[in-house]
């Protein structure tokens, strides 16, 4: 198989399959959670659960002051990481062209030089996250192999994308093929590791916020 063939497979049938596994897998995870159900709170409420749920979905995006002051690096790096990933995935011209061809939707993009710089920063940020994970005693204790697998799965597409765009290390077509393959891999694996947090955080915040809103307590 040469580079062209690999590229064609990775962005064609490979991607289709990966996307299918991703969507089906995430739906399965959603079903696994929701099908467990929960009991209605029979205590007399003070407020509206749904309002509380929505409020917590928004409010939990900001850290508590006292915890932020203790761990500013870990928290700021978390923001950087997520914003960087967002820019690299959704605001890069060629990605948007790809989405347009696939889903028929498109939106404005950032200059590629800017996305390139953001990608470099995000790679750095992921590296910082890894260093923290490996050195902080709390993180070391609670981390599992799944955390490191998820890290590699996230790091590879960013790295190969950066290398391909800058024509580094391998011929462009090869690197691009590897880039898309790594995305395929990420999509296939995401529903089966902690990357499920990309949707589950909404549920978690909703459930806690719902109870808090209903009871009229902080969340």
């Amino acid at each position: 198989m040469n580079a062209d063939e690999l590229l064609i497979w990775a962005r064609g049938p490979g991607f289709d399959l990966a996307l299918l596994v991703f969507v089906a897998g995430m739906l399965l995870r959603l079903f696994e959670i929701l099908s467990l159900g929960r009991k209605r709170d029979l205590a007399e409420g003070r407020g509206c659960g749904a309002v509380g749920g929505l409020r917590t979905i928004l409010s939990r995006t900001l850290p508590r002051r006292s915890v932020f002051l203790k761990e500013p690096l870990r928290i700021l790096n978390g923001y950087l990481l997520h914003m960087g990933l967002f820019v690299a995935i959704f605001l890069f011209g060629p990605h948007i062209d790809f989405f347009k061809a696939w889903f028929g939707l498109s939106w404005p993009y950032l200059p590629s030089g800017m996305v390139d710089a953001v990608t470099a920063v995000t790679l750095l940020s992921l590296t910082v996250a890894l260093v923290l994970r490996m050195n902080n005693p709390v993180l070391r204790l609670i981390s599992t192999s799944g955390d490191y697998v998820a890290w590699v799965l996230t790091f590879l597409p960013l790295l190969t994308g950066y290398l391909a765009h800058n024509h580094l290390l391998l011929p462009y077509t090869w690197m691009l093929a590897l880039h898309i393959l790594s995305v395929d891999l990420l999509l296939v694996a995401a529903p089966f590791n902690k990357l499920t947090h990309m949707f589950a955080f909404l549920l978690a915040r909703w459930y806690q916020g719902y109870q808090a809103g209903y009871r009229g307590i902080a969340s």
Partner: protein, 428 residues
Amino acid sequence: MSAPSVEKGIRFIREQIDAPVASFFSACVHCGLCAEACLFYTQTQDPRYTPIHKVALMRRVWESEFTLWGRIKSALGLTKPITEADFTEWETLVYDGCSLCGRCSLVCPVGNDISGMIRKVREGFAAAGHAPEGLIGATTRAIEIGSPMGVRLPALQAQIRHIQESTGLEISLDRPGVEYMALLSSMEIMNFPEYLEAIARILRQAGKSWTISSKAFEATNSGIQIGASDLARVLVQRIVDAAEELGVKMVISPECGHGYTAIRWDGPNLIGRPYKFKVKHILELLDEFREQGLIQTQGLEEARLSFHDPCQIARKGGVVRQPRALLGLVAANFVEMSDAGAMNWCCGGGGGVSANERADALRLTAFKQKKAQLDALKVDTLVTACANCRITLEEGLEANDMNIPVIGLTEMIAEHLVETDRIEEKSA
């Protein structure tokens, strides 16, 4: 009831897993920030006290039984089964190293109610026979005697007689048709009888009719702390039966944090139906009396004082505004501590920790968090609204040679109460 065993423990953990729990585990990114919220971690720096680590056994049950990937791993024999040794190892984390204060739940960036999960996982530990001796004793006494401290009715009657003789106040037992039924914690009956006198004076002044049930005067619920819902239900049912039999409109939860959680939030869910009466914490009620002009106060406390928010009343109970409004009546020099209100730090004695002698040293270490807050404030007096916080604070302060008296807020309001000459209570 079958004998405790690992299998039973796992089964009880499994039964606790619902959609919220599954969403919490699915959302956890292992960021470790919950540790920074927990006084047992911040004061020991021992990573095992990281809140999410405390529910690791529950995570294992969830993963291996409620996720496709985990089921495949189990089928292939790649899952480590939970053993007696695991229960032994985690027992001290789940009971000694957690006061169910709920602070971690407010800090987790993905919104996990970790504290709620720790409360749930205790069901499994109790069922596996891995609950601390102190809590088992308290629960047994609560079921058999009616009080975790073994306080019997004659002790309460003696207190009532004493108050009646020295103050002329009338406190009736089992009076049907009155508006309120007051609960007490054993700690109040034994160590802080001022509370009973205080509510008697305030309710008389407000012109309210009230009573105490001889069958259900205890507000605490060890069943909830140990994690035995069946026993917790029995204890709640006693109160519900008594209140409904007497036909009261409201049950007053005393200055006891988890007692409030038990009767206000857990109770209806334990007995499977809403109550026919309302439940309020004494501070909620006092603040209503204040708003309605039913009570007035005179004179101000000149001491520099602060308020310790009991976790179950402020963070988990939503009663934050009321104590401030009440202190506004009587305190000239009130100062807030850092993180006051919903983010306040626990005293270290909640969630059954203070009833568990094995945890004494750890509790005093965790108390350093409160000490740091107080050191920064330099107060003369500390006010709170939970008898268990109060005794924990007193012990912690004493152990650290800090000379700060701790006072209950209800009692402080009663001290400043304007008492007009014996308003005759309208007979009900």
